[in-house]
C-alpha cells in the first residue's frame, strides 16, 4: 500500500471581495491524481475558493500550499508556473482572439504540455477552427477550448469551474469522457459541479461547502448512500 502524495493543502483559508468576507476558514486537501469536487449551493464559496488559490482574489489569509510552495506568498502570475491551471466558470474565451490565438495564449511553462495533435484527438471539434473568433464557437466548444489551452501549458493540477453549465447532454458526455482521459494521464483536478451525476462519474472524493467553509466530505462510494444528506446540503 503506497501513501498518496499530497499536492494541495488548504487550511483555515479566508478571503474577501472588498468588504464582503466570502471564505470563512475553509480547509481541504487534494492528493496526486485525484479528482475532487466542491459541491454546494450558489454563493457557498466554491468559485471563490478557486479564484483565491489562483491569486485572482488578493485579499486573503490562512494557509494554501501546493507542492510545498506557499500560494499566498507569491504574486498571482507565478501560480501558473507551479503547474496550476485555471478553467473559469464563464470559460474566459477571448473575443478579440481567434481559436488558435486563444489556444496558444497561456505560456507553456512545462515541457510536458500536450501537443496540438493530442489536443485535437481529445477534442476533435477544435480541429480546423483556427481562424474562427473564439467566442463564435458553441458553448461546448468554448469549454473544450478553455480546457485545451490549459492542457497545452503542461499544467498537471487543474481547477475546473462548472464545466457542464448550460451544455447539452451530448456535449456533457464529451467533456466527461475527456475528464476520464485526463485522470488516466495522472492529472489532478478540483471540479466545481452542480451536475451530481457528472460529478459522480468522474470524482474520487467530494467536499461540501456552505457559507465559505468546507462542512462535509464523502468518498465517491459513500456519495450514493448519502444522497438524502447531499440533497439537503444542495437544497434540491
Amino acid at each position: 500500500m503506497h501513501h498518496p502524495v499530497r499536492r494541495l493543502e488548504v487550511e483555515d483559508l479566508h478571503s474577501w471581495y472588498g468588504e464582503s468576507h466570502i471564505l470563512h476558514g475553509a480547509s481541504l486537501h487534494v492528493n496526486q491524481g485525484e479528482i475532487v469536487t466542491l459541491l454546494g449551493r450558489n454563493g457557498a464559496g466554491k468559485t471563490t475558493m478557486m479564484r483565491t488559490l489562483m491569486g485572482i482574489v488578493q485579499q486573503r489569509k490562512g494557509r494554501a500550499v501546493l507542492d510545498g510552495q506557499d500560494l499566498l506568498a507569491m504574486p498571482a502570475h507565478h501560480v501558473a508556473r507551479l503547474g496550476l491551471g485555471f478553467v473559469p466558470e464563464e470559460r474566459g474565451i477571448f473575443s478579440s482572439l481567434n481559436v488558435l490565438e486563444n489556444l496558444l495564449l497561456p505560456p507553456a511553462f512545462r515541457p510536458s504540455g500536450m501537443a496540438l495533435e493530442q489536443i485535437y484527438t481529445l477534442f476533435p471539434n477544435l480541429q480546423g477552427r483556427d481562424t474562427t473568433i473564439g467566442t463564435r464557437l458553441s458553448g461546448g466548444e468554448q469549454q473544450m477550448l478553455a480546457i485545451a489551452r490549459i492542457l497545452r501549458t503542461g499544467a498537471d493540477f487543474i481547477l475546473l469551474d462548472e464545466p457542464t453549465e448550460g451544455l447539452a447532454p451530448v456535449i456533457v458526455e464529451d467533456i466527461s469522457r475527456a475528464l476520464g482521459e485526463l485522470k488516466a494521464l495522472g492529472l489532478t483536478i478540483i471540479l466545481v459541479e452542480q451536475n451530481i451525476r457528472f460529478a459522480m462519474a468522474n470524482a474520487d472524493r467530494h467536499y461540501v461547502m456552505e457559507q465559505g467553509r468546507v462542512v462535509d466530505e464523502f468518498s465517491n462510494e459513500a456519495l450514493q448512500s448519502n444522497m438524502a444528506k447531499i440533497n439537503a446540503y444542495l437544497g434540491v
Binding site: 491569486g55 507565478h78 508556473r81
Partner: protein, 295 residues
C-alpha cells in the same frame, strides 16, 4: 490637369498630401491613446505633453549635446518612453482601481505642469529646428512641390503605425495585450505579469508620442504649447475612430487629416472645425465610433 468640382486637380492632390502629413501625426498619437485606453483604462490627457517633450528633447539634444536628428530619432523615443514608464509606475498605477476621472485629472495636471515647466525654462516662443541635411530638397510631382522631409514624415509614420498594427494583431505579444484588455485577471492567472505589461505598454505608447515629437520638430516650431493644440484634435480623432481597433485608429487619423486638407480647398474657413463636425455626426449616427465595438 482637369478640374474636380471646379478645383484644379493639382490643388486638390496637393492638399490631400498636406492633409496626410497632419494625418500622420493624428494617426501616431491616436494609436497610442487608443492602446492606452484599451489596456489601462486611462484617458491619457498628457499624450500631447509627451509629444511636446519629444520635440523639446530633440531640440535639446541638438543644441546642448550636439546629437543630430538621426540619433534623436532613436534616443528620444526611448528617453520619453522611460519617463512615461516611470510616471505609470509611480502615479498612474495607483489610480486604476478608482474612477476614470482621477487618472484623467492626473494626466491633465501632468500635461499642464510639463507645459508650464518648459514655458518657464525656455519661454513660449517656438524654437526652430533645421531639417536634417539628407532630407532637405523637394520632390517635383508635377501637381505640387513636396519637400522631401514631409514625404519622410508620411513614410516613417505609416511604417511605424503598420509595425504596431502587425505586433498587436499578428504576434503572441499582441495576443497577450488584447487578452489583457479583455480580462486582465485571467491573463494573470495564466502566468503573465500583467502589471509589468501595463507599464511597458504605457511606456511604449508614450515613446511613440515622443517619436512623433521628433518627426514634428523640423516641421512645426518646437514650443511648450505644441502638444496641447494638437491633443484636442487627436481626442476627436479617437472618438471618431472608436476605441477597440488599432487599424481603425490609424485609418481614422490619416483620413481625417485628408478631410481637413480638402476642407481647406473647398471651404477654408471651416477647416479648423471640420474634424469636430465629423465627430458630432459620428456621435449621433454611431456613438461607439466608426471602428468601435457597440456593446
Amino acid at each position: 490637369m482637369p478640374d474636380i468640382f471646379g478645383v484644379p486637380a493639382a490643388v486638390l492632390l496637393g492638399q490631400v498630401l498636406l492633409g496626410l502629413i497632419n494625418g500622420s501625426f493624428y494617426a501616431m498619437l491616436s494609436l497610442g491613446l487608443a492602446i492606452i485606453f484599451g489596456m489601462l483604462n486611462v484617458i491619457n490627457f498628457a499624450h500631447g505633453a509627451f509629444y511636446m517633450l519629444g520635440a523639446f528633447v530633440t531640440w535639446l539634444c541638438l543644441t546642448q549635446l550636439g546629437l543630430n536628428y538621426w540619433a534623436a530619432l532613436v534616443v528620444v523615443p526611448i528617453v520619453v518612453g522611460v519617463f512615461g514608464a516611470v510616471v505609470e509606475r509611480l502615479f498612474l498605477r495607483r489610480l486604476y482601481r478608482i474612477d476614470h476621472l482621477y487618472s484623467l485629472l492626473f494626466t491633465f495636471g501632468l500635461a499642464l505642469a510639463m507645459e508650464g515647466l518648459f514655458r518657464y525654462l525656455f519661454g513660449a516662443a517656438g524654437k526652430p529646428y533645421p531639417v536634417p541635411e539628407t532630407l532637405t530638397g523637394v520632390f517635383r510631382l508635377g501637381f505640387m512641390v513636396l519637400p522631401v522631409y514631409r514625404a519622410w514624415v508620411i513614410l516613417a509614420s505609416v511604417l511605424v503605425c503598420l509595425l504596431v498594427w502587425l505586433v498587436m494583431e499578428k504576434t503572441r505579444l499582441g495576443a497577450w495585450l488584447r487578452a489583457a484588455t479583455e480580462n486582465p485577471s485571467l491573463v494573470t492567472a495564466f502566468g503573465i505579469n500583467v502589471p509589468l505589461m501595463l507599464t511597458l505598454t504605457y511606456g511604449f505608447c508614450v515613446g511613440l508620442a515622443g517619436f512623433a515629437g521628433v518627426l514634428a520638430a523640423p516641421i512645426y516650431q518646437v514650443s511648450p504649447a505644441m502638444g496641447s493644440s494638437l491633443i484636442v484634435i487627436v481626442f476627436a480623432v479617437v472618438v471618431i475612430g472608436g476605441l477597440g481597433s488599432i487599424g481603425g485608429a490609424i485609418l481614422t487619423g490619416l483620413s481625417l487629416g485628408v478631410i481637413e486638407g480638402l476642407t481647406k480647398v473647398f471651404y477654408p474657413s471651416a477647416s479648423a472645425i471640420v474634424i469636430f463636425v465629423v465627430m458630432v455626426l459620428v456621435l449621433i449616427l454611431r456613438p461607439a465610433g466608426l471602428f468601435g465595438r457597440e456593446n
